[in-house]
């Protein structure tokens, strides 16, 4: 082997953080962003660790929404098709419209269910990526959900549906590509009734654009609901506040039979005890 070439190769594979090679342009990458070389772990993979959050309000409606009180209008995050519309099959579009009409009670998220993929990525709450050589997990604030991204050499866990699906990752240059299957039909894509069936197959692409920004793309294929695969794209931003952390998000089933999120910072989260009174009350209720 040519000695000089070998040195260059060596530099590529074990270069310290920040001095790595320029990443190879991925198929969908914006040309002006590919020059960023992110910090890397010891295995040379980009370092995605940190707390991230979307700023766009796509959680309300990924096809965009009008301005409302206290809320600016948002464009569609659907980038393919170019018209920003999800390419529903005709019957599925009618179902989506029904979902929209009933969204105040029909959205699974109202029951404090886990959000599913890709909805969890653009909720108005942050998520944290944990990564070490050979391991990567995404922990979401919402309903204390998590996904473990196993290597794509391990087959999907077929035959079971999970609210957060079954995730397998591989690298295309500096882009983390996650293949997600086993998603059920009990999650929506947003609060506006956009939905999928249990045939949904998601391919996510995570690419660092700078120290504190990440591009997120998800291509959704579902022959039961969509006329063709389609893609959404948004940016994620790093939470740089000192001491930033993911806080516990649990719901409490209340007397009305409905589950409600209770923030751990809300004094109502704390259950004070007067044991003699509790014992008397419980005995009297029997």
């Amino acid at each position: 082997m040519n000695k000089r070439f070998f040195i260059i190769l060596t530099a590529i594979f074990i270069a310290p953080a920040g001095v790595g090679p320029k990443s190879a342009p991925a198929a969908r990458s914006d040309p002006k962003t590919v020059s960023y070389s992110p910090p890397r772990l010891a295995d040379g993979r980009p370092d995605f660790r940190g707390i991230w959050q979307a700023r766009e309000t796509a959680y309300i409606n990924i096809e965009g929404h009008r301005a409302e009180a206290g809320l600016r209008a948002s464009p569609s995050i659907v980038v393919d098709p170019a018209d920003g519309r999800i390419p529903y099959l005709p019957g599925a579009l009618k179902q989506r419209d029904k979902n929209y009409e009933r969204r105040a009670t029909a959205d699974p998220a109202i029951n404090c269910f886990q959000a599913g993929v890709p909805r969890a990525t653009f909720l108005p709450t942050p998520f944290q990526i944990f990564q070490s050589v050979g391991h990567l997990a995404i922990v979401y604030t919402d309903n204390h959900s998590y996904r473990i991204v196993l290597d794509s050499s391990i087959p999907h866990d077929d035959g079971i549906d999970f609210f957060m699906g079954d995730s397998r990752g591989h690298w295309e240059g500096d882009t983390l590509v996650v293949d997600v299957t086993d998603l059920g039909d009990q999650t929506w894509l947003d609060a506006a009734g956009n939905y999928h069936s249990d045939q949904l197959h998601v391919v996510e692409r995570y690419t660092l654009l700078g120290p504190d920004t990440m591009k997120y793309e998800a291509t959704l294929a579902d022959a039961m609901v969509y006329a063709r695969p389609w893609t959404l794209r948004l940016l994620l931003y790093r939470d740089k506040k000192p001491g930033a952390q993911i806080v516990e998000d649990e719901c409490i089933d209340q007397a009305d039979g409905v589950w409600h999120h209770v923030s751990p910072f809300d004094p109502k989260a704390l259950l004070h005890h007067d044991y003699q009174a509790e014992l008397n009350r419980e005995k009297n209720s029997q």
Partner: protein, 276 residues
């Protein structure tokens, strides 16, 4: 070629020297009691990553606390007294536990798919549902299969927050030689310890210790203090064992498909909501 190899070696040496700070080296693993062949991360600390379960068995610790056999050991005064004693409740909290155990099992937060709390999640569900640890120099995160419970543990021994009350409390960790010590506080007063209505409240304070005793075993202990529930602190000890290499978390969607509550008949108290 030799030049390239030397250059590579130099780079590796540089990496090693930057990865391991002098402070870390000073506290680096040298405890006589721990094996020398433990898997370690680049920072020198034991590598706890992987899939683990409670090998001591379901409720083994509780049985032992009552003077039974097994791996678990109860420490404290009542242990040295050598008599089979239950949890060291105050009289009123003992009455509460006995009453609920007999009449109100629906009170169990796990029947509602709530986060089990500490140390229950390591003791009870984890004998059936494993947990995954991912770790770096700043964090150790525990992803429990049961009810997609999780704990993010900063390893900087930082202070607990104020005005924060959670099912799993707030966890802060640090290394004492090869033992990960996790201080857990800020509980919300809503969790039980098991299905026999043993419980803790908002004054619970737990110190957990995770010590690898081999490549595939962790000695786990949790020392629990709760002055409004117990007259003294007590300790639970468990052996955690690594799951076989090909096993993985099977996501446990609990509340999303939860029907447990229906299994608690009205005659056993399935009427009132215990969490309000």
């Amino acid at each position: 070629m030799t030049g390239a190899i030397l250059w590579m070696a130099a780079l590796f040496a540089l990496r090693a020297s930057t990865a391991q700070s002098p402070e870390k080296s000073a506290t680096a693993p040298s405890a006589q009691s721990t094996p020398t062949n433990l898997p370690r991360l680049a920072d020198g600390h034991p590598n706890l990553q992987g899939l683990w379960h409670n090998e001591s068995g379901y409720r083994a610790a509780m049985k032992n606390l009552r003077g039974g056999g097994g791996l678990a050991v109860a420490l404290g005064d009542f242990h040295s007294a050598g008599v089979p004693l239950p949890f060291p409740y105050w009289p009123i909290t003992k009455q509460i536990q006995e009453y609920r155990d007999l009449h109100d099992p629906y009170h169990d937060p796990e029947a509602h798919c709530h986060i089990p709390g500490v140390p229950r999640e390591t003791e009870q569900p984890s004998s059936l549902f494993p947990f995954q640890i991912i770790q770096d120099e700043k964090y150790l995160v525990i992803l429990y299969e049961y009810a997609h419970d999780l704990r993010i543990i900063p390893l900087d021994d930082s202070a607990h927050p104020k005005g924060y009350w959670a099912w799993d409390g707030d966890s802060r960790g640090h290394w004492e030689r090869d033992t990960l010590v996790v201080d857990v506080a800020n509980f919300n007063g809503r969790t039980w310890l098991d299905m026999e209505a043993n419980f803790v409240d908002e004054n619970e304070h737990v110190v957990e210790r995770y010590t690898m005793t081999g490549a595939d075993t962790i000695a786990y202990s949790a020392t629990v203090d709760d002055p409004t529930v117990f007259t003294k602190t007590w300790t639970m000890e468990l052996e955690l064992k690594r799951n076989p290499a090909k096993e993985q978390i099977v996501y446990y969607d609990c509340h999303e498909g939860e029907r447990d509550v229906e299994h608690y008949p009205k005659s056993e108290g399935n009427a009132a909501n215990p969490h309000e």
